[in-house]
Amino acid sequence: MFHRGVRALAYLLTSLVLGPATFVWAVVTTLVSGVLSFTYLAPPTFLTVTWVTRWIARLERLRAALVLGKAIEAPYPPLPAGNPWVRGRALVREPATWRDLAWLLLLFPLGLAGALSGVVVAVVDLATIVAPVWLWSVPNPYLPPIVDWLFNTTGGRFVLTALGLALAPTAWWLVTGVAGVQARVAAALLEPGPRLRLARRARELASTRRRVVDAQAAELRRIERDLHDGAQARIVAAGMTLALADRKMRLSGQPARDDVSTARRQLDEALAELRRLVRGIHPPILTDRGLAAALAALAGDAPLPVEIHAGDLGEPAPAVESAAYFVTAEALANAVKHAAATTCTITLTREADVLTVEIHDDGRGGADASGSGLDGLRRRVEALDGTITVTSPVGGPTIVHTELPCAL
């Protein structure tokens, strides 16, 4: 809390100093570019000037981020390749260029206003608090009676300290408020505009969509392979065994019990194989009973004790439930297979529109977060606009933290 006040004050003070400088820079360079704009030299000049302006804007973004407590993204799309003339012209058409300049101009008046209100308030309040230390050195006999008592007697000065302390929260509020407003204006101008934000979002969506399609194709291939080598092959084998039994019976007239029971066993295995596959596609209990019950069943099947803490999860969309289920299944499997964990805790919470799943094991850690199993799940989670973070220092513990938005 105190730090925030100090940061706000530092922000206002530096704004006061930087404001005139950026103002002069913006005015001069704009004038120079304007004058040169009729000449051949305009694009390269503009390119150079903007390069410097962007460094200043970067600094401004960092300063504002300190006050706002969150990073501010840079808004610059990549420049086209080509000579300085091509690139210079592209910069002129780029809205971010002009928004940067706008802030550099605005910093001067805003910085001045912020300093006048915020810094003065802070300095006066601080001075009041420390009144007993310095006020004796500037005696002033021409003061009205009450003020005279406050200023010129030791007791009065300590009352001033008390007053200053009482007003400190108000001063703190004022200083952080003024700095906050200034930083928010900076952020509004220096972060990506709506057009660029949408373009970025579209790019992001296109790439997650492509990854989803890839993941889905890979998944279908895996299912085809599993069916081909598993259940299908076992059924064919059972058919072969029965064909032989049939032949033996025809030749000898004796029932071929061994072959028949072999065929039965092969069919049982084929069914088990199919059940395993179906469970891997979409566990039936997830459809029947929902996420918490499905995870409880998963925990019950795990070869290590698993504790589940589940709050009220509401009814997330099937895709969300399914992703949460398979993330947990994969994390559990990894905990057993790679981390040699002895216990595992699953925590499920739903806050507003975000379902959070955290799997915590006490294994030896060192998990490869980009491993193939988790990578497929990451695509699945990202497709739902969710995030998955794996923390697994060597020596453990491993924590797989997944957040899935439920409102799409």
Binding site: R225, H228, A233, V236, M240, L242, A243, R247
Partner: protein, 214 residues
């Protein structure tokens, strides 16, 4: 008959070995990969090779590719391809060289033991054994064909069996028809499709398959 088997799934390889051994054949080699198949065929010169389409290491159509390669080096090497799925394109590639002694069957057909044994005899003797499913796909592709459209239902049935590689006598048995009427049907079919008359079953199959696959 001396037979080489190439099948990667142990379960099915064992099943095939048992069936063939039980029915009086000798399995001289049972291998799991395409390179091993090529080696085994070169070494044993078997009367027949039974090959799974999908083999390691790629698990695509390595078996089929190996079969085609073997037959490029030594034409008329009898090969029966077994698979859990059939693709008309693969059948076309197999019959393209016109040499006969090829078969392409679903693995399920193995369980109809007599027909399967008949099919391996046919392929080993230089004939053809096409899966009914392949023939069905060929017909489906030719459903607008002028020639096929003029055939009667019975003639189509006969054509289907001819395309599978069955001899006249086998067709008689299958459809419970007199030899004379099968011959008459076949004569009509060949005339309507404008295919050359051929007494040789093998050449007739090739002509019919080529027609259906054109």
């Amino acid at each position: 008959m001396r037979i080489v088997i190439a099948e990667d799934l142990l379960l099915l390889r064992d099943g095939l070995v048992r069936i063939l051994t039980d029915t009086g054949h000798t399995v001289v080699a049972a291998v799991a990969t395409a390179p091993e198949l090529e080696e085994a065929v070169a070494e044993h010169r078997p009367d027949l090779s039974i090959v799974d389409v999908r083999l390691p290491p790629g698990f695509r159509d390595e078996g089929l590719r190996a079969a085609l390669a073997i037959r490029r080096r030594a034409p008329k090497t009898p090969i029966l391809i077994l698979s859990q799925y059939v693709e008309r394109v693969y059948a076309a590639e197999l019959i393209a060289d016109g040499n006969g002694a090829v078969g392409y069957l679903l693995k399920d057909r193995v369980t109809a033991l007599d027909e399967f044994l008949d099919a391996i005899d046919r392929v080993a003797a230089g004939g053809t054994a096409m899966d009914p499913e392949v023939v069905r796909q060929l017909f489906a592709r030719n459903n607008r064909d002028q020639g096929v459209a003029t055939l009667t239902a019975r003639e189509r049935e006969v054509l289907g069996l001819v395309a599978q590689g069955l001899s006249n006598s086998a067709i008689c048995a299958e459809l419970v028809l007199a030899p004379a009427s099968v011959e008459k049907h076949i004569g009509n079919i060949l005339a309507k499709l404008e295919l050359p008359l051929a007494d040789d079953t093998h050449r007739r199959v090739r002509a019919v398959l080529a027609y259906l696959n054109h």
